[in-house]
């Protein structure tokens, strides 16, 4: 089974600081995302799935319609293998309502309509749900299994300066990677972009994402789109 753990805004510096050995795997580094005008969630994950830069195409849809963008299986690295599963992956199997609600809650927080606890609660609930589903699916025999976790990004936007909270989240993600690594023949941990601190808040790092594998890849300064071919070749 080729396992892909997609983690929004996983920051290399924190992976190292918190010594998340399962997230780091055997080989790890940063992806170069400088070619994108903005590190948009939907653009980056769709580009990752398709193996090509889809920024122009998606941005052309406009800010609202962009969120309706959905790739066909045949347009992704899921095309060839027989048995595949993608859990909550943006641009493919994304739970639109959940993520629309999360964006709305972020606006509500800054408009002081909700507290940080009220903001966090549904994010954690969604995280637990995806985690449970992923761990369950690890027992099945897929050719490719991918899960997408947005907790580091969404919680990080408001709490990146709260090191303990971030550590607790990273350690939990690390634990998930540890469980998955036992089932994976090949495993990729990938993020769309990193995160940088803006006081106690967090903002997207526009230059780099994160990658790690349990097998050697022949890429020195990889782009997020470079991995589709590797996944196809190894699954």
């Amino acid at each position: 089974m080729f396992i892909i753990i997609g983690i929004d805004a996983l920051e290399k510096k924190l992976v190292e600081k918190f010594n998340c050995s399962h997230l780091k795997q055997k080989y790890y580094g940063q992806t170069n995302i400088k070619e994108y005008r903005q590190p948009r969630t939907l653009v980056l994950w769709s580009s990752f799935l398709a193996g090509k830069n889809l920024e122009k195409k998606i941005v052309a849809l406009g800010n609202k319609k962009m969120w309706n963008f959905k790739l066909k299986k045949s347009e992704t690295f899921f095309a060839d293998p027989k048995k595949t599963k993608a859990i909550d992956v943006p641009g493919y199997t994304y739970n639109k309502k959940q993520h629309r609600d999360e964006r709305q809650m972020l606006r509500d927080f800054f408009e002081q309509k909700i507290s940080i606890e009220e903001f966090d609660r549904p994010i954690f609930t969604h995280f637990r749900k995806i985690k449970k589903q992923f761990i369950n699916d690890l027992k099945k025999d897929y050719d490719i299994l991918m899960a997408y976790f947005d907790i580091a990004d969404v919680i990080g936007h408001l709490s990146f300066g709260n090191t303990i909270k971030m550590k607790m989240i990273y350690k939990n993600l690390d634990e998930i990677a540890g469980i998955a690594s036992k089932k994976a023949q090949k495993m990729l941990v990938i993020s769309d972009h990193g995160m940088k601190s803006i006081g106690k808040f967090g903002d997207h790092d526009e230059k780099h994402g994160f990658w790690s594998t349990n097998f050697k890849i022949a890429l020195k300064n990889p782009k997020i789109t470079d991995f589709a071919k590797i996944i196809t070749k190894n699954s």
């Binding site: 606890e117 966090d120 954690f124 637990r128 303990i164 607790m168 989240i169 939990n172």
Partner: protein
């Protein structure tokens, strides 16, 4: 300034995965030594992540606060029981763990060695036990942690206990208490465990409370090591810590290595004018005489002098992946004294985790090996027998500003 302190300095050591952070977090939690709102937040995030409360995050929080605060004693954290306060020296996770273990822990009055009931004593446990021996701690407590993971079984505790006792015996160490605990669940930390009724001994906190604060060093020979010199209001204030003994206003003292004599004019403490200061106190002093004194000078009395020498023999615990070589030049530190020297001989090498003798004479000392090292130093320094005065009886060996080894000085009678 003769006010008796009511705190005990402890060092907690053991294998990195045997639950040190969890234990420290638990100690802070059980003694209400951490703000309630922080505990609440950690509990809530754990709950949201679908987990039980993880006490190691309490430790992380303390560490985070420590990194953000500007304090002199960065490696020290506090908790308290109704009896007294405790200072934990060298909390785990610190980048310069070993250096602090030796320098910071040099003031430790008791040591806690943590061992997992599941894994038993591992190599690192044995090395840390060796360090406890080097610190010459008489009050040692062993906690056998993670009892919850072995179903609180007495047989498992006894098995690990036997193993620990056997290797501590080889080091001539006898623990005062060996306690089965679960730091994660809180068994035998502050309260007696209901799941281990077979354990008739004390809890960890009550055992710690029964330890004695070291008072005897106030009666030991005077050692005041100059850390810095501050010119304030036309006075030259010599700042440092009384490492042992008591220093008094009007006292006649000897300054080493220059061998000049002087009289204590005043003892300076912020907003106070004490007439004496004892071991453990950081103070400033002024002298009646106008002498040129530098950092590293040792102030003592004529009667009880340390040995001033340019040759040191010490049992060195080497802790660097790059070997210590005969003929190598290295930095030697003894409290605030610092000099350079050359390694002359290495002998009686042993492995710190197996305690097995490796060789009688050697050319190199490898990582985690202990050996008797003779060093010829460039400038003479004042040293003591560690059995008499711990603080000036130890050396740190540094290479490229990194502490690579620590040693207990052997004073050879001629």
């Amino acid at each position: 300034m003769n006010k008796t302190k009511h705190y005990l300095k402890i060092v907690i050591s053991g294998h990195v995965d045997h639950g040190k952070s969890t234990l420290i977090g638990r100690l802070f939690y059980d003694t209400d030594s951490i703000p309630e709102e922080k505990i609440k937040e950690i509990k809530e995030v754990c709950r949201q992540l679908g987990r039980e409360m993880e006490f190691s995050f309490v430790m992380d929080n303390l560490q985070e606060e420590r990194e953000q605060s500007i304090t002199i004693d960065t490696a020290q954290t506090f908790f308290k029981t109704p009896k007294r306060e405790y200072v934990i020296i060298d909390a785990p996770g610190h980048k310069e763990f070993i250096k602090n273990m030796i320098t910071g822990a040099s003031q430790a009055e008791a040591g806690v060695l943590i061992v997992s009931a599941k894994e038993g004593a591992e190599e690192q446990t044995k090395r840390h036990a060796y360090i406890l021996k080097m610190l010459d701690l008489k009050q040692i407590l062993v906690v056998i942690n993670k009892m919850d993971l072995v179903d609180y079984k007495r047989q498992k505790f006894n098995k690990v206990k036997k193993q620990i006792e056997a290797f501590l015996k080889k080091l001539n160490l006898k623990p005062t208490f060996i306690i089965p605990i679960s730091a994660a669940k809180g068994d035998n930390i502050a309260k007696k465990s209901k799941k281990m009724k077979w354990h008739k001994g004390k809890t960890l906190l009550s055992s710690l409370d029964s330890f004695k604060e070291s008072k005897k060093i106030t009666k030991a020979p005077l050692r005041f090591l100059v850390q810095d010199i501050y010119p304030i209001n036309q006075k030259r204030i010599l700042v440092g810590r009384v490492e042992s003994g008591t220093i008094k206003k009007g006292q006649k003292v000897l300054i080493l290595p220059s061998k000049e004599t002087a009289k204590i004019k005043s003892i300076e403490v912020f907003m106070k004018k004490p007439t004496s200061a004892s071991a453990g106190q950081s103070i400033g002093i002024t002298l009646e005489e106008d002498l040129f004194i530098e950092r590293g000078a040792v102030i003592c009395t004529q009667k009880d002098q340390p040995k001033v020498t340019d040759e040191i023999s010490a049992n060195v615990f080497w802790m660097s992946k790059k070997d210590l070589k005969r003929g190598e030049r290295i930095i030697i530190k003894n409290v605030t004294q610092e000099t350079e020297g050359e390694i002359k001989t290495i002998s009686n090498k042993i492995d710190s985790s197996t305690f097995k003798k490796i060789s009688a004479q050697a050319r190199i000392l490898k990582n985690n090996e202990v050996g008797e090292v003779k060093i010829k130093i460039d400038e003479p320094i004042a040293i003591d027998d560690p059995n008499q005065i711990k603080e000036t009886g130890r050396i740190i060996l540094e290479r490229d500003m990194i502490a690579c080894g620590a040693g207990l000085i052997n004073i050879e009678e001629k």
